[in-house]
Symmetry: C2
Subunit: 210 residues, 2 copies
């Protein structure tokens, strides 16, 4: 098994925190997104989408989606469970993980990709040339505002996003909050529930991954 | 358990095909998206995002994401497996299901939402007012073109998208292909592998769901 990644970026960071929580280590090759390593022909041959992370399994299967790699690793290393044990836990963790990624991480990404020259013509990850539209910054910021309010409401009276233990949903929310800082949009001061939760999850040793 | 949905729309249709394959039936209330049923105050109280499907479990948990509902139902009704049995199957099915949804279904959605008055100011599902930007139509069509080529390559020499049996990845691909017709973008004639695969999967009784 071999992992190609750039742990500092918000999407791969989700995987690195997931692996740190489970104590999973494997051969690793850094792909420096800021230096265009994702466009190196040898990496493009592996993943034509030019995205990280990429996991190559022992039988040569290539996985490029964080959710897919996490499903694979959860099946191989079930403990501690981060994707849920019961049907209801599995459903609720997937529910919030998906929503937090789409409504939080992707909202910041819309605003960020426009503002960073390394993502010129890559308003969406992948090989298709898509201009950075100014309107997407505005749209991303509006979506992010709504996301903070959704997360703040969800965390009222809850220690974690789902159930009574740390899960993938917390990992995704932590990465969304930290990614916000990249565009100078920190969690709003009035979000006291997020602040309380953030202090706990960001103090876990796994938060240093990525 | 109760399901609120509009089976004809491409996103909920994924769930209805999934349920048909497993023979799952449950109490159902139609929410007519074309008549604005998703904005009815009683439905908004249930799902502030105004999206379908919505599953309310017996303990009152509300699930709004197709992937979450499918994870929940797969755990309750494991046979026939549509999300994979082994770690590798789980990873590969999630990989392709996620890619097909993001690169195919969402590409069509970008173009479609702009063109349909029922989605005015809802360029992304949810309660945030987001204008239908003309540039998104163009972007969606470019992404869709790339998706056809990705799917065509993937299906070369394969009976199904992953492994040797029908899975969620095939359901997502079928819904992407049929959704394309909504914007008059059918699978291009040169995609012979997609055409062969499509003839098989669209002939399954489950394809009539939605």
């Amino acid at each position: 098994m071999k992992l190609y990644s750039y742990p500092a970026a918000p999407n791969p960071r989700r995987l690195h925190i997931f692996m740190a929580e489970k104590g999973i280590e494997m051969p690793f090759e850094p792909i420096d997104l800021m230096k265009g390593g994702q466009f190196d022909p040898s990496f493009v041959a592996l993943n034509p989408m030019s995205t990280v992370p990429v996991l190559v399994t022992d039988d040569g299967t290539v996985l490029t989606q964080v959710v897919a790699i996490c499903d694979y690793l959860e099946a191989l290393h079930p403990e501690p469970s981060l994707l849920g044990r019961t049907a209801l836990e599995k459903g609720e963790i997937r529910e919030w993980s998906t929503r937090i990624f789409n409504e939080g991480v992707m909202a910041v990404a819309e605003a960020f990709r426009k503002s960073n020259p390394n993502f010129a013509n890559r308003s969406i990850p992948g090989p298709v040339s898509l201009a950075q539209e100014p309107v997407l910054v505005e749209r991303g910021l509006k979506r992010l505002e709504h996301f903070w309010s959704t997360l703040e409401t969800r965390l009222a009276g809850r220690e974690f996003v789902v159930g009574d233990s740390f899960s993938m949903a917390d990992i995704d929310a932590l990465c969304a909050c930290d990614f916000g800082k990249w565009i100078r949009k920190s969690v709003p001061a009035e979000c006291v529930n997020i602040a309380r939760w953030y202090a706990v999850v960001s103090a876990r040793p796994s938060a240093k991954a990525g």
